[in-house]
Structures are given as C-alpha cells and as structure tokens.
C-alpha cells in the first residue's frame, strides 16, 4: 500500500454512503475507501456463501480506440489480445522493457479497434503515461477513470440478485465475458469477472448513478442477505483464490514467469514490451517463484515477514493472513525456484521466532463447480 502525503485523498461517488453505513475507512493507494462495514470475517463469509457488494470505483479505466488499438494493446501488455472477441475480457500485464509489471489489468474488447482496460487505482495515471509514451500506433489512449463507477457483486447468489434488476440474460454471459445493458434503468457494462474466487459480476456505469445502483442492489439482495463488503474482505478473498495484488506479489521487479503467470505471457504472439527479456528468462531459468504456504501452528505469517528454508533466509512473504474459509493461516512468498516444490518445509520469521510452515499449491481455495 502506498501512503499519500502530498496529493489530496480521492473519493468515490459513494464516499458519504460508506460513512453513513458506518464503514471503517482507510487510505488505499491515495483513495479513501471502506476497509470493512460489519467485519472482515462476516463479509468474507457472505461472499463465499451468499453474496457481497463492493464499491470498486477507485479502479482506473483507460480506453484505447482507433485503427491501431489492437497494435498498442499487443505492444504494451503481455497477453494475446488478438484472441479476444468483442464482448470478451482477459487478465494481462502491462510490461516494462524488462518484462516486469507496470501493473496488472483486465483488457475488455468492446469492438474491433476499441478496448477498455481496467487498471489498479494507485497506478492509473502512471499506466496511462506509460501507454501514451509507447503509443507509436494509429490509435488514441484516454484516461477515463472519472467516467466510471464500478460495483462488484460477488458470490454464489450474485446472479440471482442481479437478475431482479435487469432484463439482460445474465446466465448467457460466460466467465470473463461482458455485455452492455440496463441495470435498474442505468446503462452499464456488465462483466462476469471478479477478484474473489466466486462467481459474480462487475458493472461499470457513469458515477452519477452510483448511489441509486448501490441502494437498488442492496435492496434487491436483502432476501439473500447481500451485504456491503470492504477492501479487507476483498483482500482475504483474493488471497484464498491465489490472485496477485500489485505491490505485493507483482511489481516493477517481478515478471509474469516468476509470479506463476506464464499463462498470460504469450511470447508466441510476436514482439512486445519486455518480450525479449521474458523469452531469455524462459530459455535460461526463472530463479525465483511465487508459492503458497500454510502455517503449521496458530501464528500468522504476514506481508514482509522473512521466509527461511533450511534455516537460511530465502525470501519474503508477499501477502499473508488468516483464511476464513479454510480456517488456517496462509500466504504467498517468493522462494528460490529450486526449493519451490509443494510440500517443502519452510519457516516464517515472526517477531524473532522461526515458525514452521509448508509450501502448498495455489490456489488455496477453488469454488465448487
């Protein structure tokens, strides 16, 4: 997390709504955001068993439009956007020349020559500058974060609840696809995406409708006990699902290959920013790898704690904490590739003590199909 000292704290259109609901607020990447309402554990459980509603309007949006839009997306991001059809989205990485992450993002193909990127709040302006500085194609990038609010409704009951506010055939939207349509009378981009490991939707719409959609969704979901959820639960949910968080698992010093994201790194699509470096890394060796671990006693290995293998410091925890669903303490860490096999015993340094843990495969949690 970054701490903003000079810039003014930014607020989503729902800021006063969150405060009225009694949310505990936190500065996240320069945004004043709800950390929790009723409590991280109950919000987490709601998403795993019923549904939760998140204000994720802090997320940034960048629009790429013009004849060369695909060329620009292909050049700056590592996944192969030529494989997307209109109405489809995928996860990708915005790359430096060294094949490291400027950011991670979702690429939505709206139409030929028209893409909408959803990027991390704190990185939005930097991402935009980066994309513009590499734009030698016949296309234009626009930083349109202020044009959108975004709500995420996540959980096994999300579809049922959202159905009550729309005539769009939600069941026909496949995972990582999207469509345009009205929710509660408001024209939205409705995507079947999320950051929780559950089924659910993320809807994008003009900020002036935020309060209406927020209230209408909570109302529509009241019989399912849909509750507002904050960034605290968002973090425990994505950790269980083994998803990366920028600034933790991935940053300017890590590559997709190290982060276990080889599947978004499409070297065969042709040259892109960092592709030479990534090809070389793939040819020679990936020296460190992101792994999952579980603690073997009740103590919690948290972000930044040292990881020891055979008594020697071998890496750091990137994200760690309790898993409310699995009822154990889990985390992710970078370790030397030669010691990255599941089952390998490790120790986490917790306030001067070496506490036993063991590497396990990712993700920690997979939703029942």
């Amino acid at each position: 997390m970054t701490t903003e000292t000079t810039a003014e704290v930014r607020k989503t259109a729902l800021n006063s709504t969150h405060r009225r609901l009694g949310a505990k607020m936190v500065n996240f990447g320069g945004w004043d955001m709800p950390l929790e309402y009723s409590g991280i554990l109950s919000e987490h459980e709601a998403v795993r068993t019923r549904a939760g509603l998140f204000d994720v309007s802090h997320m940034g949006e960048i629009e790429i439009r013009g004849k060369g839009a695909l060329d620009l997306v292909q050049w700056v991001a590592c996944n192969d956007a030529s494989k997307l059809s209109a109405g489809q989205a995928h996860y990708s990485g915005l790359m430096t020349e060294r094949g490291t992450f400027v950011d991670d993002l979702l690429v939505h193909k709206i139409a030929d020559g028209h893409y909408l990127l959803c990027v991390n709040a704190a990185n939005q302006d930097g991402d935009f500058q980066h994309i513009v500085s590499h734009n030698r194609f016949d296309t234009r990038a626009r930083n349109v974060g202020d044009h959108y609010s975004q709500l995420a409704i996540q959980g096994p009951r999300a579809l049922e609840i959202l159905k009550r506010l729309t005539t769009v055939a939600l069941g026909a939207i496949r995972y990582y696809h999207f469509t345009f349509g009205k929710v509660s009378g408001v024209e939205c981009l409705i995507a079947r995406t999320g950051y929780t490991g559950e089924d659910g939707f993320e809807i994008y719409f003009p900020p002036r409708h935020s309060e209406k959609l927020w209230n209408d969704l909570l109302e529509a979901g009241s019989s399912e006990k849909l509750i507002p959820c904050g960034l605290g639960a968002r973090n425990t949910l994505r950790l269980e699902a083994g998803m990366c968080l920028y600034g933790h698992e991935i940053d300017l010093e890590t590559t997709p290959l190290e982060a276990g994201l080889g599947w978004i790194c499409k070297l065969e699509k042709g040259p892109f920013l960092g592709s030479e470096f990534l090809a070389a890394q793939k040819r020679t060796a990936v020296l460190r790898k992101l792994v999952g671990f579980e603690m073997l006693d009740k103590r919690i290995g948290r972000d930044g704690y040292p990881v020891m293998i055979s008594g020697r410091e071998a890496g750091r925890v990137t994200s760690g904490g309790p898993s409310p669903t699995l009822k154990k303490n889990i985390g992710m860490a970078y370790v030397p590739a030669e010691n990255s096999a599941a089952g390998t015993p490790i120790e986490i340094g917790i306030r001067g003590q070496a506490v036993p843990a063991r590497m396990i495969g990712l993700p920690f949690y997979k939703r029942p199909q």
Partner: protein, 132 residues
C-alpha cells in the same frame, strides 16, 4: 462505556486492581480499531513483565498489535479460553476477554494511569484526528 474502576494506558490497555492483583485487557476502542480478532499470544504463568514492555500480542485479520503492560509484576493467571475463542475480545473486551492477571510489584503503580474519564477524552480526541 469505560468502567470507572479501571485504569487505562495510551496504548489502549486497561487494568483493574484488586488488592495485590491486577487484571489486564485491551479496551473497546482497541478491539474496534483491530477488527475481528483471530489469535492471541500470551506469556506463561510465572513470567515477569515490566511496565511499558510488550508481553504478548493480539492479531486481527488485518493486523498484529503488541500488548504493553500497564504495570510491573508477575503473571499469575492467563485467560486460556481466548485460545479457542479469540473473538471474545471483540464481544466483551472489558469483561470475559481479560488477558492476564498479574501479581503487582506495587499496587499503587496503576494510580498514575488515566482514569475512565481521561481515557474517554483521549479516545474522543483520537477519533477527531481521523479524516471526516
């Protein structure tokens, strides 16, 4: 809300003195700031603890917080029920979720700490520091 017969520290611990024994816990303000408590680490009976020094920790989903002793003494009893039910700290921080009882070196030592009224003022000021 803060019991009148307890004393309080700036680090949000409370102590209740009964003769030569002091019972120590964390305040309602502290549990609220932490959020859902999932783990408590306490010292062993017989351990010496010193005023102002950390003798254990309380962990929530989000964070870990050291517990600092309000006074000096020797651990006489720990609340072992918190091992299985750490969430009691969220529900009853001033009562059932006491952390430790200590044999006080100096039963008068706690008198220098904040009383309930002073502590209430202290946390009210803290709340005002938060951005509106």
């Amino acid at each position: 809300m803060y019991p009148a017969d307890y004393r309080y520290t700036k680090d949000h611990e409370w102590i209740k003195v009964d003769g030569a024994v002091g019972t120590i816990g964390i305040t309602d303000y502290a549990q609220h700031e932490l959020g859902d408590v999932v783990f408590v680490e306490l010292p062993k009976v017989g351990a010496r603890i010193k005023a102002g020094e950390s003798f254990g920790s309380v962990e929530s989903v989000k964070a870990v917080s050291d517990i600092f002793s309000p006074v000096s003494g020797e651990i006489a009893e720990i609340n072992s029920s918190l091992g299985d039910q750490p969430e009691k700290i969220n529900h009853d921080p001033h009562g059932a979720a006491w952390l430790v009882r200590i044999k006080l070196d100096d039963p008068k030592e706690a008198n220098s700490l904040m009383d309930a009224k002073a502590y209430q003022t202290y946390v009210d000021e803290k709340a005002q520091e938060q951005p509106a």
